[in-house]
Amino acid sequence: MRKRNSGKDRLITVALHVALAAGLFFAAFPIYWMLSSSFKSNTEIFALPPTILPKAFTLEAYAAILGDPVKLRFFFNSYFVAGAVTVLTVLIALLAAYGFSRFNFRGKGSLNTLIISTQTIPPITLLIPFFGLVVSYGIFDTYVALILTYLVFTLPYAILLMTGYLNTLPRDLDEAVAVDGGSSWTALWRVIVPISLPGIVATSVYTFLLCWNEFLFALTLTKSTSMRTVPIGIQLLMGQHAFEWNQMMAMSVLGSLPLLLIYLVAQRYFLAGMTAGSVK
């Protein structure tokens, strides 16, 4: 056992806490700075010396964002697209995961490898053919274009996450349904889905997050201001009013809220999704 209270030991404990404080500064200061800048006036942001706390606390940047229908539309678009993709992804992935988890079939191994490898396809590679397809099918600058293309990137993760979850559920549960003469379809909806809620929540959270963060496709496959999502909206704001830093920060805070809230409320599910790639 470790000798407590010796001088050297106490020194190590103090050093550790100093290091923890330094780490905290590194991790959190940039975020604190975003938050505090969003409550400052634009002139105060570049005041010298910098003010750590807003000297004149103001909500003018938030009022400017929330009072502008163009910016509210960015938020609506982001929520709508991410929501739609999440519902579709979870439904489709649930079916695939059920197939993977509960059946043995020819080609299972190679299909599984295919899905694992599609996780790493570079988005920029698919962007050019997507652009060609979207234009030729006349869905350029529509929700459909974003929803379909996001689906391709969310699906592989969702299938792997859901399969992992279903594999943890005992098989006797759905086999009992089969003994009673029920089909696998009945077993899925009557037995599996109700007890899979934690897995479904984790998958939904991660899918939502992927969509909410997406930038490249939203940038290229939409054009009109009314179709833009939040990340593109922030970029536009930067181009138009390069010096309205407080508004950019306020928009960034508002754009991060959904993820922060999900993280605080459902930390466990959140981390389950984020680390899914590594802990298979």
Binding site: P30, P49, S184, P231
Partner: protein
């Protein structure tokens, strides 16, 4: 059950998995595999996408890319950005995980710090880019602090000077990405059996010996698979660079994805962009194969 009914049931059981998988396979086939084939085809055509009847171009577009010094610069910047990011993600993630896992800190404090240390991960690349642009503005807070303590003599234009831009974006990416390692390693640390350390204590092992001979070997599988994934994902960086520097100044932060994007959507040279996209795809596939073989060997 009659025999007929039983064989009917068996047939259903054999077809069922394919039915459950069909929506996913349809989407992956039509929207992933087909486009991949399309982009390869584009790379061998003249005026791909723009003309209805493009002519065959052979390897012309690949030749053009390999002759372009900006392509090689982008490849080099991508490698620098990616290697530095992965190495520092791993180091910082490891240090933070070990600190948080120490029994010298109060469990309450540990939980609070864990939440705060994960924070950078919760922000979208675009927002990370905007935050760092504000911090690293010539008149911004970083310059102001560094000048106060005398590290720099005059204001540095971090993102707009060719000497510092690549380091600045790499730093921003290091800040944004270490929590993946931290969280995974923290989970890994908690999975190491306590008796390993107790046995080492009995043998009188020092703290650093326990780190080198127990902790790191036990975490190796996690370190390797996260490093590979991080490498593959970091290589695909786009929004962070697009918003902070746009690949400039004078191509000093151009990476493969911004290079390809500009070819396609600024110069509208979609054929050459496709060739570049295929090169990126091949690099990614090579690494992915390596990753899958590693996962299977585990």
């Amino acid at each position: 059950m009659t025999r007929q009914k039983r064989s009917h049931h068996k047939l259903k059981r054999a077809v069922a998995p394919y039915l459950y998988l069909s929506p996913s396979l349809l989407i992956i086939g039509l929207l992933m595999l087909l486009p991949m084939a399309t982009v390869i085809a584009y790379s061998f055509q003249n005026s791909a996408v723009l003309r209805r009847d493009p002519s065959f171009a052979g390897l012309k577009h690949y030749q053009a890319i390999f002759d372009d010094p900006v392509f090689w610069a982008s490849l080099w910047h991508t490698l620098y950005f990616t290697c530095m990011s992965v190495v520092f993600h791993m180091t910082i993630g490891m240090v933070f995980a070990l600190m948080l896992n120490s029994d010298r800190i109060n469990p309450r404090l540990r939980n609070v710090l864990r939440v705060l240390y994960i924070l950078p991960w919760l922000f979208t690349a675009v927002i990370i880019a905007v935050i760092w642009r504000l911090l690293l503005e010539p008149n911004g807070v970083v310059n102001s602090i560094l000048m106060q303590i005398g590290i720099i003599g005059s204001k540095v234009e971090w993102f707009s000077s060719p000497q510092t831009a690549l380091h600045a974006v790499t730093f921003a990416n290091i800040w944004a990405g270490y929590p993946l390692f931290m969280v995974s390693l923290l989970a890994g640390l908690q999975g190491i059996p306590k008796d390993f350390y107790e046995a080492a204590d009995i043998d009188g092992a020092k703290a650093y010996q326990k780190l080198i001979f127990i902790t790191i070997p036990q975490l190796m599988p996690i370190i390797i698979s996260i490093s590979l994934l991080d490498f593959i994902w970091t290589m695909q960086v786009f929004p962070l660079i697009w918003i902070t520097t746009g690949g400039g100044p004078i191509y000093s932060t151009e990476v493969l994805s911004t290079y390809t994007y500009k070819l396609a959507f600024s110069s509208y040279n979609l054929s050459q962009a496709s060739a570049s996209a295929v090169v990126i795809l091949l690099i990614s596939l090579g690494l992915t194969l390596f990753y899958i073989r590693y996962q299977k060997a585990r």
